[in-house]
């Protein structure tokens, strides 16, 4: 019999999707096999819905469960934990924070009445903890208060109850792609976290996709280059995994959710966040020679680090993918052609693969 658990959204996209992934992961690890492999997550607009079979064991001492909170170098989790808790600085030890996550998840597992509700507060109360900007930038500055009379203020820092905060941290560490990039004199210029919003996924298939996403590097020239490169790699991975029709594969994403922090003199500041649509790349991938076009885009973005014309190509391609209009297409074609004519870059699109891209250029 299939049970359902509902995760209410707060409106902070990164926080909500991380909570959803966090609770999904907790169920995957607490349900006995084969039920743990059958956990599915669906986005129903105002809520997420978790579907599962079986009953969770509530075994919090098993090595498998404890591995979720490991922060050694294996698997890159240390980078994820340190990036997530970057803004706590020296105020609290990393191990202490991770313990807070562990006990926070365990204290409200399984959620009562199969319903997970979070009510972020603007005042810190007992049992509440700061939502760091690395988890959701809108929590750091809050939602701006309306302009009334002579007063206009930024929003207040938001706090969350510990169980929801812990689930969000768990989901963010395990499912977000964390990137601290463009190192200058020992300091990183920006920190990016990005993950796909689950339209409907099976957690097992999602983890296979995540494994593909962890291979290779993203183009670090700018946050938007990294986000578009992630989107291209995601679409290539989805096409590869769904090509084998004999295997059941359930993974559909609606868009990417991202969070950017920029380094300043003293500390990181929220720089941006939001959604990146996947529709364009999904449409290109579904065309006959679309996969060839995606591979070419992946190669262009992967070579951006080489600087010069490669950097120009990566920037213009990222610009085109985030805003596929005729002017941005012209800029990208110009830079790619210039690189080819200067004998710096030898690869070109076939007519059919470029046609696949042209089909989805917006009419401006």
């Amino acid at each position: 019999m299939t049970s359902k658990l509902f995760i209410e959204k707060t409106g902070m996209e990164m926080f909500d999707v991380s909570r959803a992934y966090g609770i999904t992961l907790a169920y995957q690890y607490q349900l006995p096999e084969p039920h743990g492999s059958n956990v599915e997550l669906t986005d129903l607009h105002s809520i997420y819905m978790l579907s599962y079979t079986g009953k969770p064991k509530n075994d919090f001492s098993s090595p498998k469960w404890l591995s979720l909170f490991a922060f050694k170098e294996e698997g890159g989790l240390r980078q994820a934990w340190t990036s997530l808790f970057k803004t706590f600085g020296a105020k609290r030890e990393l191990s202490e924070l991770i313990d807070t996550v562990k006990y926070g998840v365990q204290s409200n597992f399984p959620p009562k009445n199969n319903f997970l509700r979070a009510k972020p507060a603007i005042k810190k109360e007992d049992g509440f903890i700061t939502i760091p900007q690395s988890l959701d930038v809108s929590a750091a500055k809050g939602f701006r208060t309306e302009k009334r009379g002579a007063k206009y203020t930024e929003g207040d820092q938001l706090f969350s109850d510990i169980p929801n905060w812990a689930l969000a941290c768990l989901g963010a560490v395990h499912f977000c792609k964390w990137l601290r990039a463009d190192r200058q004199g020992g300091r990183y210029k920006y920190t990016l976290s990005v993950q796909p919003n689950p339209l409907e996924i099976s957690v097992l298939n999602h983890r296979e996709i995540q494994k593909d996403m962890n291979e290779g590097r993203l183009c670090e020239l700018s946050a938007i280059c990294a986000i578009t490169h992630y989107a291209v790699k995601l679409q290539i991975s989805l096409l590869k995994r769904t090509a084998d029709k004999s295997k059941y594969f359930r993974c559909r994403y609606s868009h990417l959710i991202f969070n950017i922090m920029q380094a300043t003199g003293q500390q990181s500041k929220p720089s941006g966040g939001g959604e990146f649509p996947l529709e364009l790349l999904h449409n290109i991938g579904s065309e006959d020679d679309g996969q060839e076009a995606l591979q070419m885009m992946n190669e262009v973005l992967s070579n951006g680090w080489r600087g010069g014309v490669y950097q120009d190509m990566a920037f213009s391609l990222a610009d085109f993918l985030s805003k596929p209009t005729t002017p941005s297409l012209r800029r990208y074609v110009h830079t790619h052609l210039a690189a080819f004519l200067n004998k710096k870059y030898r690869n070109l699109y076939s007519e059919s693969s470029l046609g696949a891209v042209m089909k989805y250029v917006q009419n401006v």
Binding site: L341, E351, L354, M358, N363
Partner: protein
């Protein structure tokens, strides 16, 4: 369907695109490429087309003398159609589609 795709797949534009591709890759006619990149108005577009065809024709005649066979040339009908497309879709879009053809692989 995007209008860029309609333009890209238009036969007359494809023929001109092929001519531009040959012109750039075989004869390094970067002047035509730059002119197509920056043209904005229809009357300027006609001038750019005229200059491109003159340069292309001179390269084609050299080729024909050397190889003793006919070179590829866009037809008069292709030229009429291209100008019509520029009137309907705009110079920007037509040039973007033209230059895109210069980016594709041969064969």
């Amino acid at each position: 369907m995007s209008k860029m795709y309609d333009l890209f797949k238009n036969k007359s534009l494809e023929n001109f695109g092929m001519a531009l591709r040959l012109s750039i890759r075989e004869h390094e006619d970067y002047a035509s490429l730059i002119e197509f990149e920056y043209v904005e108005k229809e009357d300027q577009f006609i001038q750019v087309l005229k200059k491109f065809l003159r340069r292309y024709d001179s390269h084609a005649r050299v080729y024909e003398r050397k190889e003793k066979r006919g070179a590829f040339r866009p037809s008069e009908a292709d030229l009429d159609k291209l100008v019509q497309l520029a009137e309907i879709y705009g110079v920007d879009s037509v040039c973007a589609a033209l230059v895109s053809h210069a980016l594709v692989k041969v064969g």
